[in-house]
């Protein structure tokens, strides 16, 4: 019983940052109508920015995290402005932006290799203590990760559902032309949305940096996992991504326990194929 509860909690904790990553990707898809294969690389950039501010410059944890996320937010907006914006809407389904994000991913990975070197670097835990409750062991670092991820998700949901800016994002996602008729600056919305998506990556990256370590290739597996979250939740559905993220975390945690860590990713990716087979629009997506 304790094993099952332990796995459940582990799953929810790792699922919470999958949800953060998945929400970023799904918002990009919903608004910009393109799939972003550089998502994992922005996650990597977030981790490196956090490393730069906290270890190299020696700031405390919270300011360096805020600075890192802000840096990646600006980086994402610059990338959108100069690389993606001229090509959006070209091709039948945004194939040109897809290729551009692919190139962007290579670019970011190589820049990271050049600037920070091709080795693993580490960041110390925010808090070393370990919590034990009823036979369930929890590192408080992981609890912090889950808490920050949950707060981030709630903030994102509130912004999208309750603020004028969020309504503008939803309007642009539904119909760009109509939104521009209503006086919404859709180009700016595109830019800021992409920035927010990359900032979400950066939050996940800086939270996980102490646990998994940092290297230029850390984004690759995360990239596909965020796709899994998006597909299972339904492309473009924010609420669906959150549920799917938690679900993926729990499934992975049990798969690691019972099948071994080598097969955990196979299960995650097979989930996508199964999902496509039975319900291509995802759990919460509308059938088109």
């Amino acid at each position: 019983m304790a094993v099952i509860i332990q796995n459940l909690i582990n799953g929810i904790i790792s699922g919470s940052y999958y949800a953060v990553l998945g929400v970023g990707l799904t918002v990009t898809w919903g608004v910009l109508k393109m799939i972003n294969v550089a998502h994992g690389n922005f996650y990597m950039m977030g981790a490196y920015m956090f490393y730069t501010f906290s270890i190299i410059m020696g700031f405390p944890v919270i300011p360096s995290m805020i600075a890192g996320v802000a840096a990646v937010f600006v980086l994402g907006m610059i990338m959108e402005k100069f690389v993606l914006a001229p090509s959006l809407g070209r091709g039948k389904f945004g194939d040109t932006p897809f290729i551009l994000t692919l190139a962007m991913g290579i670019l970011l990975e190589n820049v990271a290799q050049l600037v920070w070197g091709e080795t693993n670097v580490g960041v110390p835990y925010f808090n070393d203590s370990i919590i034990k409750v009823m036979g369930i062991t929890m590192a408080s670092q992981r609890l912090i990760v889950a808490a920050v991820a949950m707060v981030t998700l709630i903030v994102v949901l509130v912004i999208i559902k309750r603020t004028k800016f969020g309504w503008a994002i939803s309007a642009t996602a539904q119909n760009t032309f109509a939104a521009s008729l209503m006086g919404i600056n859709t180009k700016q919305i595109y830019m800021v949305t992409f920035g927010i998506a990359t900032a979400l990556c950066a939050i996940a990256g800086s939270l996980l940096a102490p646990i998994y370590g940092i290297n230029p290739w850390m984004g690759e597996s995360i990239q596909l996992k965020s796709f899994v979250v998006c597909i299972v939740g339904g492309l473009g559905s924010v609420g669906g991504s959150i549920v799917a993220g938690l679900l993926l975390g729990i499934i992975e945690s049990f798969a690691t326990q019972f099948l071994g860590s080598g097969w955990q990713n196979v299960i995650a990716y097979a989930l996508v194929i199964v999902m496509f087979w039975f319900r291509p629009a995802g759990i919460f997506g509308k059938m088109e």
């Binding site: 393109m34 039948k92 290729i99 998006c230």
Partner: protein, 365 residues
């Protein structure tokens, strides 16, 4: 005016045939030319050209799916890798000749192609296909990593033998010419098959599916049959490249063979040269392979330059270099207009200065 003339020359089917004939003739003669001129780095140049032809053949096989039919399948490297692993594992465990691999490897790749095609057939939107095929190829990669017992996982499988001598031709690796002509034959055959397929009725059906699935269906194109057929042909062709790769490079690791890095290269080559043509992928593969080879000296910045080339070409020439006639004509006109503009300005300027001189002269006089 000049740009129009150049394009008129390239538009004629006769000059097109002449160019492709010349290209293949030069490739065919290359080792002989190198041998006669007693160039010192002979085997290096041949090695680069072998890679060029290998990637060109692979990109051509993928172009059938993506360029002609518009199916963004990112699992082409899986067919390549499956054939490579099949052939080398048969060679090691069953002691079969690598030449048997050329029969069995592509067949295995075709079988995997069928397995990939079935889930993809149900999906119509390109992003779904991209994600599904990415996940499928990742699953295959992880399976090959985890079955350490048979594939040696990430350590790399290197126990295969090179091609054994056939018809008195010795493939011992000391001389690259036999490999050169082997890949030349594979490459030329694949280019021929692709060109014939593109011109056939299947090719027309493929293009119709790319432009609009609904319209194609209403005009009586059997979508499922065409898609499966093209998937099978494409994976079969990719299998040949895989078998050659396995017994030429002589080491296979799952990440190299099944990873997304290889697929990214095919995308870059295809996009760079121009999709849905035969010349595009060939040009792209040769260009990118040779550029990467020349940038070998600045290894750290190689991928950076690669990414920048990809971004810039995609932004200014979204259809690839060989497909952007309209774009080039537009630029030509701009340059021409600019020149005329400049001339007019100069004339005005000179006439003004003349009048100033006149006025000055009058004042002086």
């Amino acid at each position: 005016m000049n740009t129009y003339k150049i394009f008129k020359f390239f538009d004629k089917s006769k000059s097109k045939a002449a160019i492709s004939l010349a290209f293949f003739a030069v490739l065919l003669m290359m080792p002989i030319i190198l041998r006669i001129s007693s160039y010192r780095n002979e085997s290096y140049v041949e090695g680069v050209l072998i890679l060029c032809m290998l990637w060109a053949a692979m990109t051509l096989s993928w172009n059938l799916l993506m360029g002609y039919m518009g199916i963004w399948s990112l699992a082409q490297q899986v067919f390549f890798g499956i054939a490579a692993y099949t052939s080398s594992m048969m060679n090691y465990y069953l002691h079969l000749s690598p030449w048997v691999g050329f029969i069995v490897g592509p067949l295995c790749a075709t079988f995997v192609g069928l397995l990939v095609a079935i889930p993809v057939l149900r999906l119509k939107a390109a992003p779904y296909i991209i994600i599904a095929t990415m996940c499928l190829s990742e699953i295959v990669r992880l399976i090959f990593i985890n079955l350490v017992k048979w594939t040696r996982g990430e350590l790399g499988f290197w126990q295969m033998e090179p091609f054994n001598s056939i018809l008195g031709i010795n493939f011992n690796g000391a001389d690259k010419i036999p490999y050169y002509y082997l890949i030349f034959i594979i490459f030329a055959a694949i280019a021929l098959v692709c060109a014939l397929l593109a011109k056939s009725s299947t090719g027309l059906a493929m293009k119709a599916i790319r432009d609009s699935q609904e319209a194609a269906e209403s005009l009586g194109v059997d979508i499922v049959k065409t898609k499966i057929k093209v998937f099978l042909i494409s994976s079969y062709l990719a299998g040949f490249c895989g078998v050659f790769f396995a017994h030429y490079i002589m080491i296979l690791t799952p990440t190299d063979v099944f990873g997304q890095g290889l697929m990214t290269e095919f995308i870059a080559m295809n996009v760079f040269g121009g999709m849905a043509t035969i010349r595009g992928p060939i040009f792209g593969a040769f260009f990118i392979t040779i550029i990467m080879e020349t940038l070998q000296g600045i290894d750290d910045y190689k991928l950076l330059i690669y990414a920048l080339i990809l971004i810039i070409t995609t932004l200014i020439l979204p259809n690839g270099i060989l497909n952007s006639k309209a774009q080039f004509i537009k630029w030509g006109n701009k340059v021409k207009n600019f020149r005329i503009h400049k001339k007019v300005e100069l004339k005005e300027f000179s006439s003004k200065s003349d009048s100033i001189k006149l006025v000055n002269n009058r004042i002086i006089s």
